[in-house]
Subunit: 484 residues, 2 copies
């Protein structure tokens, strides 16, 4: 057994110890998921630019195919084709607001990954836990295909495929396949597959559960098998297009406006049009689509034969096929929106497609403007059950049950929480960047220009690193530290 | 002025201060040599394998196109397409023999580069200075195209194009274009172009000077111009072939025997045959040639339309064209051996072509076996003047003058010094590796197999690093540390 296998066994043991109360054994789920032979074949990479913080440290870890940006420390861990973006972390001197408390941040925040293993996982944002402002920790945690760990410190957890934990601190939890959790703080929970849970303690609680049989056709996972279903088929079918961009040192650049950025590890197929202030992240896939001003296409998203009018958020892992989206439409994490050439999906402006929504139609479908949409939708009838106008939602102040969805609390708070966040995402991504500087502007006024990722990620240097190719450390990377 | 230009000015100033007694101003020589615009375009790279020491540290430096292996610290320096191979350094616990003194090495040796600038320079081997066993330092030094700094600590020096300093500690010296210096310890010398000087104090002294007019047609350099002449034309003509290997992440491997290694950044053109125990280093160029068992092709060498029978050393920067070399022929640093299709150059077995030899013929020429050869040779007559049989040389015990060459001291010592060293180079490169393990061999007996670079450099991981692409640090690299 080589050092990489020993390390993997050690990680599995640590996760199992944490999850002993739930009687969960991670080993049969993941033993074949991390392809130990391939861990030595793929290079990892990291970005450098003057607009990003830089502090990367790797120790006794395998990093095959993974991408790093910003500030991140990785120790005793295995990362397979995983993206770690420490570019939205808090800085020393920032002030963190929690209810009526203003807490100063005492040092630059870091993402600290220890004793963990990830497969094709996205790690992004910053720790939203006021208890751990300077350290976005992820330890003793295993995460599987296309999971998102977003602003969520984690200790002793297991995440199923296509699951998302968002702005939530979790300890000793199992997050089921395709579940979305945004719940503040959770511990010792075993979340069923297909759960969509958005909670703000004391304010609101939103809960939806996918019909499990139908979910299984999209994504199914159990011990001893690889994840399978339509989601996996969909990404596997497009895998080859990524091969080319990883094989070349320099790829022919696709022209984008000066105010936009296109990551060198994104796939852009003809005929794609990219507007101003657009961010296209690594591992995004665009084909025959139009992205209007201020739209963004985040990691692992796919936008195919579609038109996005502008200021659209396509969150990590979202897929948009044969669809027309009005301005300011938000599509949340890992959502799967599939229109067909003969029956397109149309979504009116300012609608919110909640994270982990599946819209898969065989007749044309139009979602009106200003609608809140969740769950599984295959036709008009499902849409009626699994959506509500944002206006009506704002008026709920007690509870609401629709189909598999249960809501209690303040609809107004729920809607504002979403809207504020969408506004923040657009800002952070540079959607509102204004490049026409007025004369006489002073340094302090530069901020008005609202530079975001779309502008900061331009012309980034991408560096590659590789593991020991042979010997007892085969597949592991040397100790590497990169600072400004 | 950006940080890179400021750094360059600072380096030039430091070199000039050291060379003030020689009234040497490095600035007009080098200001345009380091292409400041290109410093941000090229990536640098380093090798990782279980068979090499690993300790690389880069700080406030530009590294465009440079390659690193082993142990090396670079601070406040500009390295352009330079190779630093810290893979032959001394280890803690080694014992260094100097005359009748045995000095223990107290810690792992490092190559320490500070406040220096190099263009296409090769840095290799270990400090041969008993005063500085653990630190192969190169500080306040500027080195130009295809110079070699080989086992030679340097403080406050300037090296002209195609010059070599070998096993020599130098302080405050200018080394002229195409000069070769192997002289123990030198200081405050301004060495004329085309000087070949091999000295072992108390034992022998060999001195040859190129006729300057003829040398100038091969390589000419003065303040304010780029180096020019046949050497430059020769390498420029073959530049494009290297482009491709730097543009691809993975190149189609050329098959080599299990006991040989071919660097991923070497150019191999058809129809090249590579025997067993052969080492081909990065930036070597092979075309339509045969390398017999145990031959090696070191950095920046070119072997074209030639046949090398086996155990041949082709040292850093040597060029062999349209030639047939018998077994154990040694071709020293930066030598230029040009036969023609209609008049090949033949060199008999065990001949020693001294470093910085130019053989450029327009009629067939045969050098007999066991000959020692130096200087400029264009025909039979030159060969007679600029060579002697090794046997005869061994019998010299006073002095010898032949053409532009002057020798005094013990010919026997001179010849053994060369022969011992050639033997050592072949050993270090793995020419004598024996892969047939006998049964019952114990661990201690592994050494008999004589693994060298040819075996250790197989399947090395090559990692790339890039500089800041924009901003005030444009062209400079972040602080990077890589350890096991």
């Amino acid at each position: 057994m080589n050092a990489l296998e020993k390390l993997f066994i050690r990680i599995v043991q640590r996760v199992n110890i944490n999850l002993r109360e739930l009687e969960f054994d991670a080993k049969p789920y993941v033993w074949d998921l991390i392809p130990k032979e391939q861990m030595k074949k793929f290079y990892a990479f990291y970005g450098i630019s003057p607009d990003h913080p830089l502090n990367l440290q790797f120790k006794n870890s395998g990093l095959a195919g993974s991408y790093f940006l910003g500030q991140c420390r990785v120790t005793n861990s295995l990362l397979y084709k995983t993206d770690v973006r420490g570019d939205e972390l808090k800085k020393k001197g920032d002030r963190f607001q929690y209810n009526n408390l203003t807490i100063p941040v005492s040092k630059d925040e870091e993402i600290v990954i220890e004793d963990s293993a990830f497969v094709k996982t996205l790690i992004h944002n910053y720790s939203h836990d006021p208890e751990t402002l300077e350290k976005f920790f992820i330890k003793d945690t295993i995460s599987t295909h296309y999971a998102n760990i977003h602003g969520s410190p984690s200790d002793g957890c297991f995440l199923g495929p296509f699951s998302t934990v968002d702005l939530t601190t979790m300890r000793d939890c199992v997050i089921g396949t395709f579940s979305y959790i945004q719940a503040g703080e959770i511990s010792h929970l075993n979340i069923d597959p297909g759960t969509v849970w958005v909670r703000s303690p004391g304010s609101f609680n939103f809960l939806y559960r996918y019909p499990i049989d139908q979910l299984n056709t999209y994504i199914y996972f159990k011990a001893g098998i690889q994840p399978q279903g339509k989601f996996i088929d969909f990404v596997e079918d497009r895998k080859e297009a990524f091969q080319r961009i990883f094989d070349l040192v320099n790829i022919d650049p696709v022209p984008v406006p000066d105010s936009s950025s296109l990551d060198r590890y994104a796939v852009i197929k003809p005929k794609t049009e990219i507007g101003e202030n657009v961010l296209i992240s690594q591992r995004a896939y665009l084909q025959n689509s139009t992205l209007g001003k201020g739209a963004n296409a985040q990691e692992n998203c796919f936008i195919i034969n579609s038109k996005l009018e502008g200021n659209n958020v396509t969150a990590h892992g979202a897929k948009i096929i044969e669809s027309d989206l009005g301005k300011n439409v938000f599509v949340g994490f890992n959502s799967f929106l599939r229109g067909r050439p003969e029956c397109r999906l149309k979504i009116g402006r300012e609608s919110i497609i909640m994270p982990h929504t599946i819209i898969d139609i065989s007749k044309p479908l139009t979602i009106p403007a200003g609608q809140l949409v969740w769950g599984l939708i295959t036709d008009e009838k499902d849409l009626e059950t699994n959506s509500i106008s944002i206006n009506s939602m704002s008026k709920i102040d007690n509870r609401l049950t629709k189909g598999n969805m249960f809501f209690e609390g303040s609809g107004k708070s729920f809607v504002s929480a979403f809207q504020d966040r969408i506004q923040h995402i657009l800002e952070a991504n540079g959607a509102f960047f204004n490049c026409t500087k007025k004369k006489g502007h002073q340094k302090g006024q530069q901020k008005e220009l609202q530079k975001g990722h779309a502008q900061k990620n331009q012309n980034m240097s991408i560096n590659t690193i590789q593991p020991y190719p042979r010997g007892k450390l085969e597949g592991l990377y040397p100790t590497i530290s990169i600072k400004p």
